[in-house]
């Protein structure tokens, strides 16, 4: 027995090691196909803060006031970031450099997310092993290691909070269940630290602090509350909240925001339930009844008062004490109605059905089976899995981004399902094989074998460990074999025996077919995940590739070309304006001050930029001059067919601008057919807007040379409405090779005729700076 255990332990360790390696390496497609570079938008901010951290130390980061962004307001970095990711990478960097391993900060940042994905699959193994068994744990670890939804946010280079936060989430759950199962204070402390790390890492911690109370409430309601639940939950609520409040970005939100109220409420309920139980144990039944009545009456009054107070508090704030993003969770239509900035981000849209299949593949189908399995053996762990699965499904339906929270849940449940199915199938096959052997043996001696498929007897002398399912059954469920009505049982078995999970095996061919099918599905899943990882989620989005005829790649590196130009050929104190999407990239790659960036905390500031882009040239010029802006750039895809350019985002600039400045009316920009268009059917306001002019300045003749059609826009697949686009207040100073980035200088004075909006002070300011 001991030998078998040791073998199992080493096999499991080896498997886990392989799974962790696989989780890490499946995320390296971006490095192999592209390069080791930070991806997209937000990661650039995190990268920049990490650079600051490694240069100036941990303490200075808290005090960092960033004057390179939100000019002229600036941003207090220490108080507005979740520092978990940055601290993690910073620590790893310092550790490596302590050992004189000269790794650049960028490499550390690039590989942080894959590394933590590997940790996450280990944590998932722990969680499912606690909730179910180690087999299911292995399956869940393998699934989560390559689930596309998670890969999308944790490929090498995707240096974003989610990269470490999903690990923190799963690990917190694991330690929580471990505490509940073991009742050990040591695990409780680890759980507390894990929760602290989770709060440090991601705003999604509110999911943790809501799910755990829901789970505890369910335990109270279903009467499975024990002291161990209290041991796990109470520190989390009390000390955990204190810890959370010590992080500047959370601060008093930890007690003021409605997101946290559930935990307090459940803590109260839990105390009440435990108190009742205690009193019940103290008092004789009759007195207990009286006491119950008394307390119920008093409690009802007190509760009513409390609820009224809370309602009062909640109603007093316009968002009912919820942040906009959280409110979107409860009311999916909230953002699109009230906050265009939230609505304009694609990851805040509700997901479509295909995205569930792309992101979860067959795990999405197996998860319900996992829920069913968990219900059959409902204990502390499986109840948690079920609740996690169900709440995560709801949240994922609201926002694409929260698919990320769903993915681990689905993987854990699918792990349970896969493990159960495989156990059933393999044990059926084995039982079939044994009975086949037996029947051969008996027929050799001329005896009819009388036992049907129902026999479970293995070779008596081999105490095999593969009897876990039946073993578990007999442990947790009712005694299976004693004193049934034999005949009814045989009939039942013959009809539905294969349905029940008791050790009634399937017919061997069915089991073999099922096993093949399962293996096929898992192979498909793997192929799908690898494909998705390689093709869909690995593009860094600052470098684009296209296939050439001969199979090689053509690289469009325009973003970095333009940012490098800004970095080297403009004055270091220059202010650069662009749409907020490019704010983080500009500060990180060009090291220039920007007006707005991806931390969309000030709507009116963003609206000002939106307004400038939507206004005619002269007015936009005045707005930019008033903001001290010297350079404006737009992203333009018309030359090479890059569709997420600023013209396609223009709708949001108009809406956000119009939300604050009523003179911008969306109606004015809508051309024929009620659409935003830039062709001959475009509205005159659109053709006069700065965005149109900056995008299409000089474009028509270039398109003529390129495509043989004057002013042909490849993205919109049409000829632009106005081909002559002269500029009077702006001057083209740089356009990247494929025209994707167009940088303009805001002129000191308008071109030639300085008659109309005379340059008051503008020139002087410029001269003073020079």
């Amino acid at each position: 027995m001991a030998a078998v255990n040791a073998w199992g332990w080493s096999a499991r360790s080896l498997l886990l090691l392989l799974i962790a390696t696989m989780s890490f390496s499946i995320r390296l497609f971006s490095v192999v196909k592209y390069e080791s570079v930070i991806h997209e938008f937000d990661p650039y901010f995190n990268y920049r803060v990490t650079q600051f951290l490694t240069k100036n130390g941990f303490y200075n980061m808290w005090d960092w006031f960033d004057d390179r962004t939100w000019y002229p307001l600036g941003r207090v970095i220490g108080g507005t970031v979740y520092p978990g990711l940055i601290y993690t990478a910073g620590l790893m960097y310092q550790l490596l450099h302590f050992f004189n391993i000269p790794v650049h900060v960028q490499e550390v940042c690039v590989f942080t997310a894959p590394l933590f994905s590997a940790f996450c699959s280990l944590a998932a193994y722990g969680l499912v092993s606690e909730c179910w068994d180690t087999g299911a744990g292995l399956a869940a670890a393998a699934l989560i290691g390559m689930v596309p939804s998670y890969i999308s946010r944790s490929v090498a280079g995707s240096y974003d909070n989610e990269g470490v936060a999903i690990f923190a989430l799963v690990f917190t759950f694991y330690t929580f269940i471990k505490t509940v199962n073991s009742g050990s204070l040591r695990w409780g402390t680890i759980n507390l630290l894990a929760y602290f790390y989770m709060v440090l890492s991601w705003g999604g911690y509110s999911f943790v602090i809501n799910l755990i109370p829901i789970y505890c409430l369910a335990c109270v309601v279903t009467g499975r509350l024990t002291a161990r639940h209290y041991l796990a939950f109470a520190p989390l609520v009390f000390v955990g909240t204190l810890l959370a409040a010590s992080i500047p970005v959370v601060g008093f939100n930890a007690v003021m925001m409605s997101e946290h109220f559930a935990s307090f409420l459940v803590a109260a309920v839990m105390h009440a339930a435990l108190a009742v139980r205690w009193v019940k144990a103290l008092l004789p039944p009759r007195q207990f009844e009286y006491a119950t009545r008394l307390v119920l009456l008093g409690g009802a009054c007190g509760l009513a008062g409390l609820v009224l107070m809370m309602l009062g508090y909640v109603l007093r704030s316009p968002t009912f004490g919820w942040t906009g993003r959280s409110l979107t969770l409860l009311d999916p239509t909230y953002a699109s109605r009230f906050v265009p900035i939230i609505a304009s981000v694609s990851e805040h849209q509700p997901p479509s059905w295909p995205s569930y299949i792309t992101d979860l593949h067959f795990a999405a189908l197996l998860a319900p089976a996992g829920i069913m399995a968990a219900f059959r053996k409902l204990d502390n762990g499986s109840l948690f899995l079920v609740l996690y699965g169900i709440t995560a499904v709801y949240f994922s339906g609201v926002m694409v981004r929260l698919m990320l929270v769903l993915a681990p849940a689905v993987c854990c449940l699918s792990g349970v399902a896969i493990s159960d199915i495989l156990t059933t199938l393999t044990s059926s096959l084995k039982a079939g094989y044994v009975s086949f052997q037996k029947s051969q043996r008996t027929s050799a001696t001329g005896e009819a074998s009388e036992d049907g498929g129902a026999s479970t007897s293995d070779e008596p002398a081999t105490p095999t460990p593969s009897k876990t399912p039946s073993g578990r059954k007999s442990k947790s469920g009712k005694p299976a074999s004693s004193s049934d009505d034999k005949s009814s049982r045989t009939i039942y078995n013959s009809l539905f025996g294969w349905l029940s999970s008791e050790s009634n095996p399937l017919p061997a061919p069915v089991a073999a077919l099922g096993l093949l099918l399962m293996l096929g599905l898992m192979a498909l899943y793997t192929i799908h995940c690898v494909g998705v990882s390689a093709d869909m989620y690995s593009a860094p989005s600052i470098v684009l590739q296209s296939h050439r005829q001969d199979g090689s790649f053509y690289v469009f590196d325009d973003f970095r070309e333009a940012y490098a130009w800004l970095r080297h050929n403009t004055h270091p104190e220059t202010k650069v304006a662009s749409w907020w999407d490019y704010g983080y990239q500009t500060t990180a790659m060009a090291n220039r001050t920007v007006i707005v960036d991806n931390n969309t905390w000030n709507t009116s500031h963003i609206a000002t930029v939106g307004r400038a882009m939507s206004s005619p040239e002269a007015k936009a010029w005045r707005i930019y001059r008033s903001l001290d802006v010297e350079y404006v750039f737009v992203v333009f895809g018309g030359m090479i067919g890059y569709s997420s350019d600023d013209i396609n985002k223009f709708l949001w600039m108009v809406r956000i601008g119009g939300g604050v400045y009523p003179e911008i009316k969306e109606q004015d920009y809508i051309g024929e057919g009620g659409q935003y268009r830039i062709d001959s059917g475009a509205s005159p306001t659109m053709l006069k807007s700065l965005m149109y002019k900056l995008s299409y300045h000089d474009f028509a003749p270039a398109a003529q040379r390129q495509f043989g059609m004057n002013g042909y826009d490849r993205v919109r697949n049409t000829q632009i409405g106005k081909t002559e686009v002269p500029l009077k207040y702006f001057e083209e100073v740089f356009t990247s090779e494929h025209w994707m980035m167009r940088i303009y200088r805001v002129r000191d004075q308008p071109n030639r005729d300085a008659a109309k909006p005379a340059s008051r002070g503008g020139a002087k300011r410029k001269a003073a700076r020079a």
Binding site: M1, A2, E35, S36, V37, I38, F99, N100, I101, P102, R441, T442, T445, G446, E447, A448, E450, S457, D458, E459, P460, A461, P463, I542, V543, V555, D557, R560, E561, A562, Y563, A564, W565, H568, N569, M589, D698, P701, A702, R705, E731, E732, V733, F734, T735, S736, E737, W739
Partner: protein
């Protein structure tokens, strides 16, 4: 110290002034080549020793504006280089703003003899753009200033000056007198006899059609690894040093107009060693995705395309790195010494480097380091670098030099000694760290960190030991289970009289297998008894059960044999005993399960 200096300088002045009178330049022909992005002035002189003694020193002078930008100054006699050193102070009688150098001949010039000299000066950054700013597509005009005559402390009998230009588009040249322009050449044929220090400014204002590629700073790091590799990483800041670009930069014009690209350059070309491999080309925001390499047997040609084309005044930076093997760069010298032979500067075409820093990182533990350098004006300093697995740091020799042109990309040598043990240091370090780690873990597992050793702890210890013993008991139980199983099967297999007759014998044989084990198990049990009576009781109980089971199996066997002997058909006999058999099988399985549970505690 300072007094000594003054004395030396005074002495030098005396020598110089003495020398001044002793040569007469009989013929001087100046050729100033401005075709490249730097100037190269070649003065071909015929000098006669008119003094009273043999001479071995000759003084050459330049206006300060040029002298301060001289990258290379060579004085050649019959193509043989002579030693040249700057003079601290200009000779007597020199006009203001003149810097002089003194050449020391290898062989003296006899009294009255003549010598043919070539004085070659390569001068960078002497073109002054005028107009200083031009728009895209406009031509770049630059001015060049020099002395029309040979600036010399000696009398010049006959001289001529020629300026070679890159284009024939010359806006102006002065002085006009005596000069003539033909094609891309401005020449002053017969300038006649001039006394010492003849000064007249020469100015040429012309169209220069080549972009001025200036590397503002270059840091080369050469890291030697004795495991077979030399890493070279070069970090450049490069700028277009021509006329400033002003106003609009139109991509349309740049891409499609014939003169849209004038005064700009999109790339630079480097000639790396043929053995270069693992090339990379990047800047601080990532790879620069555009470069072309061509490998030939003699060199690796890399065409480094910059992030964006550099218009006048624009700059950018990048890092180029590659590796070369040790062969061909590191040589063994006598007495266990090693010599590293690398190029000093960049291998880019048409660029000049304002500030060059070459860092040679030698392996940790290298000693007796000595550099042999091709130029006297290279500054040496020392640094330390910590990289992979370093504890004491690697010695870094830092060489710095300003104003370097491609012809100065000469090899330099670094001699040092490095032992085999030094090379094995890092692997040994790794091995010992891992060994220490494993040892620590092994030790930890064998140490006992219990704080209190009360009864409970004692019990726990005894229990653990007893469990270990019981686990060895399971071997015996396994054998018993095996025997039981075989007995049951034996019962199954009895189908005729002979086999029934043989049954008791086979049973005894099987039981006999167990007998020797009995003693051992008893001994084990008594040990368990001493440690944990509770476990011992359970184990004994378990053992007793096996005896009962053996008895039941024996009974089953004898029942079956009896039935067969009574001529009952085999299948009927089996049917009759089916109940008993199943019960026995069930009991055996339970017994085995119980044993497993016991062994796990």
């Amino acid at each position: 110290m300072s007094r000594l200096c003054t004395v030396l300088v005074l002495a030098a002045c005396l020598v110089a002034s003495a020398a001044a009178a002793d040569f007469v330049v009989e013929n001087a022909s100046r050729r100033i080549n401005l075709k490249n992005t730097w100037a190269k002035a070649i003065d071909t002189l015929k000098a006669k020793n008119t003094g009273g003694s043999d001479l071995s020193n000759f003084v050459v002078c330049y206006p300060e504006s040029i002298a301060s930008r001289i990258a290379v100054l060579k004085v050649l006699i019959k193509k043989e280089k002579q030693e040249v050193a700057p003079l601290q102070q200009a000779p007597q009688g020199a006009p203001a703003g003149v810097s002089c150098y003194q050449a020391t001949f290898k062989s003296t010039v006899k009294k009255g003899a003549t010598v043919d000299l070539d004085v070659v000066a390569t001068v960078t950054g002497v073109f002054k753009p005028n107009p200083a700013k031009i728009a895209q597509g406009e031509k770049q005009y630059v001015e060049y200033y020099d002395n029309l005559y040979l600036l010399s402390p000696y009398e010049v009998t006959e001289q001529s000056s020629t300026v070679l230009l890159p284009t024939s588009d010359v806006r102006s040249f002065s002085p006009q007198d005596g000069g003539s322009k033909s094609g891309s050449k401005v020449s002053y044929a017969a300038l006649g006899k001039q006394g010492p220090w003849a000064v007249q400014q020469l100015k040429v204002h012309f169209h220069h059609d080549k972009p001025f590629k200036r590397v503002n700073s270059l840091v080369r790091e050469i890291e030697v690894s004795h495991w077979g590799n030399i890493y070279v990483e070069e970090t450049y800041e490069i700028q277009n040093a021509g006329s400033q670009h002003t106003g609009k930069f139109s991509r349309l014009t740049y891409a499609h107009s014939p003169d849209g690209k004038t005064n700009s350059f999109p790339d630079v070309k480097a000639h790396l060693p043929a053995a270069a491999h693992s090339l990379y080309y990047k800047d601080i925001i990532g790879n620069i995705s555009s470069s072309d390499t061509t490998h030939t047997s003699r060199e690796t040609l890399i065409e480094v395309r910059l992030r964006y084309p550099l218009m006048g005044g624009w700059k950018t930076d990048f890092t180029l790195g590659y590796s070369v093997p040790l062969e061909g760069f590191l040589y063994r010298r006598p007495k266990g010494k090693l010599r590293l032979l690398m190029d000093l500067s960049t291998s880019f075409d048409d660029v000049w480097v304002e500030q060059l820093t070459t860092r040679v990182v030698l392996p940790e533990g290298a000693k007796h380091i000595k550099a042999t350098l091709p130029f006297a004006d290279i500054q040496q300093s020392w640094d330390k670098k910590f990289t992979y697995l370093d504890t004491a740091g690697r010695p870094v020799l830092v060489l710095s030099k300003s104003n370097v042109v491609p012809e100065q990309n000469k090899p330099f040598a670094v001699d040092y000694s490095f032992t085999f043990t030094g090379m094995m240091r890092e692997p040994l370090l790794l091995i010992s760290v891992f060994a220490a780690f494993f040892a620590a873990v092994a030790l930890y597992n064998r140490l006992d960190f219990t704080i209190t050793r009360d009864e409970k702890w004692q019990e726990g210890q005894a229990h653990d030991k007893a469990l270990g013993l019981i686990q060895s008991l399971t071997e015996y139980w396994d054998r018993e289970a095996d025997v039981l199983d075989r007995l049951v099967r034996l019962a199954h297999s009895i189908s005729n009289r002979p086999s029934a007759d043989a049954a008791p014998a086979s049973r005894q044989a099987l039981e006999a297998e167990l007998r020797p084990l009995d003693e051992q198990s008893k001994a084990l049990l008594s040990q368990v008894e001493a440690l944990s009576p509770k476990l011992a009781a359970a184990a004994r109980n378990h053992g007793d059960k096996s005896k009962v089971l053996l008895g039941r199996a024996a009974k089953l066997l004898s029942d079956k044999s009896d039935l067969i002997k009574k001529d009952v058909a085999a299948h009927e006999a089996s049917a009759k005993l089916a109940g008993a058999t199943r019960q026995l099988e069930e009991a055996i399985r339970e017994w085995v399960d119980e044993g497993a549970k016991l062994a796990q505690g």
